[in-house]
């Protein structure tokens, strides 16, 4: 009874801390940093969702998918196309795009019913490569007509940017909107992970025969994971489309999927916080390297490589698991050092003790 009370209290405290952090991120951060930082933090939130999708698949179910950036770009494409073609409200647009990408993700997940490990990674990487090629050939929609919605007529290009929600047209307002949508996606992931699907995924990750013996419909739950992961990544793609306004200006490279996987592993694949760290590594670090320090951000690949090696060898739980442990160890070390440096307490001499204890 007391242990369950203790647990509930821990959950409440954790929830409060997250709520306070969210308020700081939404309300205080825009007042403290400039416009370029706000754009970067918006990208951090968006890429955190893509990393979250990777984390759900690999960290929870054990299925490695290297097609997350491809799904992000597909979400971006569909979001752009539908934004030009329809006038549906933005939240509905997010749901529709998420739903379509979810279906695509489930189709990609079908080979996962038969494949795992390296083979699944290769198949999904090939899918990412194919998406890059197709998007390169078809271009992003720019307000033209037809299925592709692309026109090469230069007088029409750039007339209308992909619309943002009416309540969040400015960069700061859109940043807040994206953070709140990302928080909702993280909450959905948390509900899944802590509930029946999460337990089923954990059992599949541990052993598929054991999961079957436990009554888990492995086909359903694997496809469910692909669907959820793709839905969140599709929503992220749609958010990205509205952030950029003119998505044809960006290019998605196949290797971005590998970088996302590496940063997700460095951040911590078994924790939802790991996805936030991955988003920071993916978007904030290149911004700091390039815009703040003037370095070529490609050097980050070396850093990520070294970080990945470190994680794989010494800290499979990633930074989110290792960092608190390291801080606790450092704290203990400092405390021991302080105790050693402080003068020992003076104790009364033995003879004095004996005198006081003995009856007179």
């Amino acid at each position: 009874m007391s242990s369950s009370l203790h647990l509930e209290r821990a959950v409440v405290i954790r929830g409060l801390v997250i709520a306070v952090l969210l308020v700081i991120v939404v309300a205080a951060v825009p007042k403290l940093v400039g416009a370029d930082w706000i754009t970067t933090f918006t990208s951090v939130a968006i890429y955190s969702l893509a990393a979250l999708g990777f984390g759900v698949l690999y960290g929870r179910v054990g299925m490695i998918s290297l097609g997350q950036i491809a799904l992000l770009s597909i979400g971006c494409w569909i979001g752009t196309r539908l934004a030009y073609a329809t006038a549906i409200p933005f939240p509905l647009l997010l749901l529709v795009v998420g739903g379509i990408v979810c279906l695509i993700g489930v189709i990609i997940g079908l080979p996962a019913l038969r494949l795992s490990g390296l083979y699944l990674a290769l198949i999904t990487l090939m899918f990412a490569g194919a998406t890059t090629v197709v998007l390169g050939a078809t271009q992003f929609p720019n307000g033209g007509h037809g299925f592709l919605g692309y026109t090469s007529n230069s007088s029409l290009i750039g007339l209308n940017a992909v619309r943002r929600p009416a309540m969040a047209t400015s960069d700061v307002a859109y940043y807040r909107y994206v953070v709140i949508v990302a928080a909702i996606m993280f909450l959905i992931a948390l509900v899944h992970v802590a509930g029946k699907p999460g337990r089923a995924w954990a059992s599949i990750r541990e052993s598929e025969p054991a999961a079957l013996a436990a009554g888990v419909n492995t086909v359903k739950y694997k496809l469910w994971a692909f669907g959820l992961s793709s839905f969140m990544t599709g929503v992220a793609g749609c958010l990205l489309a509205a952030q950029i306004g003119e998505p044809r200006a960006i290019t998605f490279q196949t290797q971005d999927s590998l970088t996302l996987a590496a940063t997700a592993l460095i951040g911590g694949i078994f924790s939802l916080w790991g996805a936030v760290v991955a988003g920071l590594f993916n978007q904030l670090l290149p911004f700091i390297f390039q815009a703040q320090w003037g370095f070529n951000p490609n050097f980050l690949l070396i850093l990520f490589g070294a970080g990945l090696l470190q994680v794989l060898l010494t800290a499979p739980g990633g930074l989110t698991e290792q960092f608190p442990k390291d801080m606790a160890n450092l704290g203990r070390l400092v405390w021991r050092g302080v105790r050693r440096l402080s003068p020992p307490k003076k104790e009364p001499p033995e003879s004095a003790k004996e005198t006081t204890e003995e009856p007179t």
Partner: protein, 251 residues
């Protein structure tokens, strides 16, 4: 009761179960035999992981082979594995609750049923403790708790005492002995520890080279010269008609 008739399993050129017929009555039944005799393959057939080339398995009047693999837990089949498979990332409670929620048991009784199963196996660990931090004994008990939760009809225990010291095996024996009476399930126990089999099983079947060597009351079977020869490696399988009563060769 489980009735196995003419069960044959083939993997390419290997026949790990060869026209085996055996009956497991209610209670706790032992299934023993040397390494490679076909015991785990038989469990895998019961679990639906392996499709037999021939034969039937009738459990409580139902053709078990027609039930798809993951639906067998809902039907009432539970099992443990030679290599313990408790889920490290989940808590003790969630490990047991997983089986409860996927076996069709009522949600309203989940908490009570799960805690009862944990108590039944004598696990003193806090239910919210992560399994990854537990020792071998506790993890084995978590597996057994998973096997007895949610009104099972058949519990298959594949070497549950492997790697455990004697005093922990004795505790496990007490738990296994209670299953038919308190949980109401038929138990089939595979183990190389003959003291555990003797302590838990009223009847025992012996297999070797995928065939039934002997079956009947455990004490008689363990004294059977065919069985001793099989363990010493000189026995050839006998005709089903020669085996005894209790766990018996099916007609």
């Amino acid at each position: 009761m489980i009735e196995v008739q003419g069960l044959t399993v083939r993997f390419a050129g290997v026949t790990p179960i060869d026209d085996m017929s055996v009956v497991f009555p209610d209670g706790t039944c032992g299934l023993i035999g040397p390494n490679g005799a076909g015991k785990t393959t038989f469990f895998n057939v019961l679990s639906g992981f392996v499709k037999p080339a021939a034969g039937t398995i009738t459990a409580f009047g139902q053709n078990l082979l027609k039930v798809s693999d993951y639906k067998r837990a809902r039907w009432g089949l539970r099992r443990t594995f030679q290599t313990e498979m408790a889920i490290e990332k989940l808590s003790v409670y969630d490990n047991v609750a997983l089986i409860h929620e996927h076996s069709g048991a009522k949600r309203a009784t989940r908490k009570d049923d799960v805690l009862k199963a944990i108590e039944f196996v004598g696990l003193e660990t806090a239910p919210h403790a992560k399994v990854g931090g537990l020792g071998a004994r506790e993890r084995r008990l978590v597996e057994v708790a998973r096997a007895v939760v949610g009104k099972p009809r058949i519990v298959l225990l594949d070497e549950p005492a492997a790697g455990l010291p004697d005093e922990e095996t004795a505790h496990l024996a007490q738990v296994i002995q209670k299953i038919p009476g308190e949980v109401g399930a038929l138990v089939i126990l595979v183990d190389h520890d003959m003291s555990l089999v003797s302590a838990c099983c009223e009847t025992t079947a012996v297999v070797d080279f995928g065939k039934l060597v002997a079956s009947g009351p455990t004490a008689e079977v363990l004294r059977d010269e065919h069985v001793m020869r099989a363990y010493l490696g000189t026995e050839t399988p006998i005709d089903d008609s020669e085996s005894g009563s209790g766990v018996g060769a099916a007609p």
